[in-house]
Symmetry: C2
């Protein structure tokens, strides 16, 4: 996708091949800054401080983080240690585990001297696969938007509501939830996106609004509180969100607040779609609420807001009374029963074990 | 309720009887500032800019605003004009209309020369009635909290979730939703409040957290997105919110986002209670979604956040990318079917026409 006319991915190997570059997402939307990661510690910090975030991008960053680690020490012990540290960086998104398992599988039988090169090759493959998968999600999901447009007699834009950021900044390119939106827009289908602000970190207001704006997609930011009202008055044709972890039966763990929007969509008869690449599916789990660890992030994220001051400087202001505590669960689980359909790189399916197995037939024998 | 140990109401006649004083709620929680209203324009500004807000307090401020207007000109024409202007100050809360009708009824047959004194007398009666009604709401609602406490074998605090501010700052004293909480706390029942931040104006984070803190009630602020997750994991025993307008069949129009919490409460089997004085009931309406005008406030409230900088100064920071639009509907409607019960100054009832008529029998003949 383009930033001020120039094509970017969310992560790439530096041109001089010394390290990996990312867009520092904590600086958006007010500053566009590219940061270079030279070592494992840089990748860890990028994941932990959310310079990169979004389940698919966390996975790819971990894969490159492993490359950076092996550049220092390519022994078995170092490989093990790096995988362990990276895996612990964030608990909820399963793509982190998936990417590290893919890397391990590719590196296990490779002599240490050849590991770094092999790691970069595999990480780049994973990155390219992510782009292809997101593009495929777009192709499979765009029909939902086109169908509304056709039903309406091709008048007025199709209104999509999304929560958090599942755009290209959450992946390597294209995004998951936003891939169908970008594709519809590029094909000339008029589409307008209601962007949930997504407190407390404001990924909607600062990332989704920014990337839609850069690409020229009409959008309106609303407080997270507004979505139910918008759906009740018919202002939303469909919801599309991403997923940080999807269980084998179709429960969806995603940014805190997703569950509330799914409830409103059900109550107002608005389709609620979830877009995800296969790396987000955790085939080992069924009941999302019972089994997925929900990251509790620093309460500071609730108590302070970062923005741009009138003098153009980025500042942080405190919004709570002195002495008031805050809590900050980062994800919630939307039960499969509230999800109209899932879309993956393989197509659209029902949010159920049977639905997922129809797309991933190879899992039938492995699944419980 | 007390602020730093001193008893305050949210509005009162100045000690020297020259004007009316309020706490400037736009300065909280970082600055406690008392503002004096001398003329109708001051009262209008206070309502429009939300120096005072909350349906009951808006009503009482309008009543006093009329006193200030009559002090300048007590003619019939001036009375009419002042009522019209005040009524238009905010569209959703019906208490504004109610208070002005009460004032008109008291003043219509009074000669202009005696109107100002009569107006102050009546406005003060309304203010005192509001305090008594809120106190009664507390008495009727505290049983819900005590019942949970008893059921739990009197261990652990009872967890109440509330949205926006329906505390004493939204009324003259005590509050509506928070009246049962204050009463429980004062009676020694351990209670802990989950305070929804309530974007975009953050009345939860800045007003509810502040007043609970001043009174010593344990509380934790969470992003509006978190409530569903908290309910799903059993961390909420009951929800209590206020109402800006309640229809004759029990639909509840309240701060944007209330509907989402009511949906989650229903889905998680958590009781969802609404507390309101009778002045909030609009007997002329049935279907809240079809009939209640929803105020669209300035999009600027979504795009900017006010807080305290590290240097102690209150500042406003911009949080949206340049060029991104925002929308700001201020209220939503929760259908009666999602409300477990209403509590008013007369007692607890089902959220239905029959339920309300059981409490307000005198309305039976008038009601359609």
């Amino acid at each position: 996708v383009r930033v001020a006319g120039v094509a970017y991915r969310a992560i790439w190997v530096a041109e001089d091949a010394r390290g990996v570059e990312i867009i520092d997402q904590t600086r958006l939307p007010h500053e566009f800054e590219i940061v270079r990661l030279y070592a494992l510690e840089d990748a860890l910090r990028a994941i932990r401080t959310m310079q990169v975030r979004g389940a698919p991008l966390i996975g790819i960053t971990a894969a490159y983080g492993l490359c950076l680690a092996l550049c220092d020490d390519a022994s078995d012990a170092a490989l093990d240690a790096a995988c362990r540290t990276l895996l612990a960086a964030r608990p909820t998104a399963v793509n982190l585990r998936w990417a590290l398992e893919e890397m391990r599988a590719a590196l296990a039988d490779v002599p240490p001297a050849e590991r770094e090169a092999r790691a970069y090759a595999r990480a780049s493959e994973l990155a390219n696969e992510d782009v292809a998968q997101c593009r495929a999600i777009g192709e499979h999901g765009v029909g939902w938007i086109e169908a509304v447009h056709a039903r309406r007699g091709r008048r007025e834009p199709v209104n999509v509501l999304t929560h958090c950021n599942a755009g290209w900044l959450a992946t390597v390119d294209w995004g998951t939830a936003l891939a169908p939106v970008y594709l519809a827009h590029d094909r000339g289908v008029p589409v307008h996106v209601w962007v949930d602000e997504t407190r407390p970190r404001n990924q909607g207001a600062s990332l989704t609004a920014w990337e839609l704006g850069q690409h020229g997609v009409p959008h309106t930011v609303v407080a997270d509180n507004a979505g139910g009202h918008l759906m009740a008055r018919g202002a939303v044709d469909l919801c599309i969100v991403g997923s940080d972890r999807t269980t084998a039966r179709g429960d969806v763990c995603n940014k805190i607040g997703t569950y509330l929007k799914a409830l409103a969509a059900r109550d107002c008869d608005v389709p609620f779609y979830v877009a995800l690449p296969k790396s987000t599916i955790d085939w080992t789990l069924d009941d999302g609420r019972a089994a997925i660890p929900i990251e509790e992030r620093d309460a500071r994220e609730v108590g302070f807001v970062t923005g741009r001051d009138t003098d153009g400087k980025t500042r942080e202001v405190a919004i709570l009374p002195e002495g008031s505590a805050a809590a900050n669960p980062a994800f919630d689980v939307t039960p499969a029963r509230l999800v109209t359909a899932l879309v993956t790189e393989r197509g659209v399916c029902e949010a159920s074990r049977e639905g997922l197995l129809e797309l991933y037939d190879e899992r039938r024998t492995q699944s419980r």
